[in-house]
């Protein structure tokens, strides 16, 4: 099985029976299997969220999809082609600070274009900064911006390259609730306009349901794997704050939470025992 085809088009991203085992450098007999048996498909233009208890290897999966980490077993296909090295068709928004502190906001946004040798990098960067609401902040260095602003710069930095797949690793987990909802709506608007494939990692079930087409639940680690998949049939366009109050949202939330709760408790007990 090289790749599953959705209709006639290859899936944007396909993880097939992926397992990641880490070996302790100082003691090679110590192994840790973060994820195993993960089969996950993101169709072109589909918004898929992965939720799971903390430490269940969500970020590991994303790094595999980005090509930053090679899986121990299993395969990754991007638009039908086997992935080797960095995933060139994907943009990655990291959980922690990823901006280059020695570049201004505008220089950070244009970095990817510059690496590719684009001639109008500055103009495109300025346009994207405006689009994320930071028009006047192009000359600021990251340390002169607030956390929310830095996230916007990161968003612009990722999206200016117009990637076919967008990978997001709890991008808003460090933000306060208001900024977070603003950013979530912004991302949804941008996604609706371009319809890219999105793989969104979060530990926040509300966020996952409000934003996605599909939610995948992971079991607690070690060796975590998908234990449930839910199609989110809420109508679009959505407002992340308003959609939470709809009955269908509550229903979906209960259904997913009933699957997830046991795993969250298991993960919590494991952390306490460690």
């Amino acid at each position: 099985m090289a790749s599953t085809r959705v209709g006639d088009v290859a899936a944007a991203l396909q993880l097939d029976r992926v397992a990641c085992t880490f070996v302790d450098k100082n003691d090679p007999s110590q192994r840790y299997t973060a994820v195993r048996d993960v089969t996950l498909t993101v169709g072109a233009g589909e918004f898929v969220s992965v939720v799971g208890p903390t430490g269940c290897g969500k970020s590991t999966l994303l790094n595999v999809a980005a090509g930053l980490l090679a899986p121990s077993t299993g395969s990754v296909h991007v638009f039908g082609e086997a992935l080797t090295g960095i995933n060139r068709r994907a943009g990655y928004m990291f959980q922690s600070e990823s901006l280059m502190p020695w570049r201004t906001a505008a220089q950070n946004v244009m970095a990817g274009l510059e690496f590719r040798g684009a001639s109008d990098a500055r103009a495109q960067a300025d346009e994207w900064l405006k689009r994320v609401g930071l028009g006047g902040f192009g000359d600021r260095y990251p340390h002169q911006l607030s956390g929310g602003m830095r996230k916007r710069v990161s968003l612009a930095q990722t999206l200016v390259l117009d990637p076919d797949i967008i990978l997001m690793d709890e991008p808003f987990s460090a933000l306060d609730i208001q900024t977070r909802q603003l950013m979530e709506n912004e991302v949804l608007d941008l996604w609706a306009a371009k319809k890219k494939a999105v793989l969104f990692i979060t530990h926040d079930l509300d966020e996952a349901i409000a934003m996605s087409d599909r939610v995948v639940c992971l079991s607690a680690g070690p060796g975590s794997h998908p234990i449930g998949e839910f199609a989110i049939d809420l109508p679009r366009p959505r407002d992340v704050a308003e959609v939470r109050a709809t009955p269908r949202f509550v229903e979906l939330h209960q259904a997913i939470w009933s699957v997830l709760r046991e795993e969250v408790l298991k993960g919590y007990r494991q952390q306490l025992a460690a």
Binding site: A90, G91, Y92, S98, M100, W102, A111, Y141
Partner: protein, 267 residues
């Protein structure tokens, strides 16, 4: 601090006045030495020292050629040592294999007392500028090298992964991630290495030369002329300070992306 410079200047003045009072023959009765000439003999007299400096710069105007030589040696040692240290640091930090092989040698070379090499350099490169520059380079190189090595090793893995995802090639990573990240470490080392470049130049001159401030000091020592020795030390100190300030200025310009605390202004 509003009057910071004033306080600093005042402290300097106080030291000179104290020095003057304690060494001027006949001013106060001797309490450590047996007669009042000895303090002046051992520690020099500030007035005579300043007079010496005055005549060096303005009356005889004969220090410029020596100063020029010392300065040239210092700047060359500083420049060559920094570039070599930067290059080797980047190279070894990015190729673990080479780093593993050369590790014991680097450690050995660094722990060797390098001033001992001065006579060998004098034999290899003669008594001119080259031998002093070589000594200075050996001192500067390791400081910069270790700092660059450390700086590259401590590049944030997330920033690095981000740059790779944005499509940076290996060369672009070096230019846009490793190098800027290492510069903050390099600059903290440059302040130390400016001083060491000076040490290399002066020690080299001191051990054998016909020009340079180190040579002037050596000659004065030969005739127990402590005032000239002190004058030479003062001139060298001021020049080291000026070079350090130049590095600081450059640092301020290149490192303006670094966060500084307390950027608010009291209105």
């Amino acid at each position: 601090m509003k009057y910071l410079r004033l306080w600093q200047g005042g402290l300097l003045l106080l030291i000179f006045v104290l020095w003057h009072v304690l060494t001027k023959p006949g001013l106060i009765p001797p309490f450590v030495f047996e007669n009042d000439q000895q303090a002046a003999f051992f520690f020099g007299e500030p007035l005579k020292i300043l007079g010496r400096i005055w005549s060096w710069f303005f009356i005889n105007a004969d220090i410029y050629q020596h100063l020029w030589v010392t300065l040239l040696e210092t700047v060359l040692a500083f420049g060559i040592g920094t570039v070599l240290g930067l290059g080797c640091g980047l190279w070894l930090a990015l190729s673990p294999m080479a780093a593993a092989i050369t590790d014991p040698y680097i450690k050995a070379l660094n722990s060797m007392p390098r001033v001992i090499l001065a006579p060998i350099f004098a034999v290899w490169f003669g008594l001119g500028i080259a031998s002093k520059v070589a000594l200075g380079v050996t001192l500067v190189f390791f400081i910069v090298f270790f700092n660059v090595y450390q700086g590259v090793k401590e590049v944030s893995p997330v920033v690095l992964a981000n740059a790779r995802m944005l499509g940076a090639s290996q060369k672009q990573l070096l230019r846009h991630v490793y190098l800027p990240s290492a510069t903050s470490w390099v600059f903290s080392s440059l302040h130390t290495s400016v001083g060491l470049a000076f040490v290399g130049a002066v020690v080299g001159e001191y051990l054998g030369s016909s020009r340079g401030v180190g040579y002037l000091i050596l000659q004065a020592e030969g005739s127990f002329d402590i005032n000239t020795v002190m004058a030479g030390i003062l001139v060298l100190t001021v020049f080291a300070l000026m070079l350090d300030a130049a590095v600081g200025k450059l640092e301020k310009r290149l490192m303006k992306w670094q966060p500084k605390t307390g950027e608010t202004e009291k209105l």
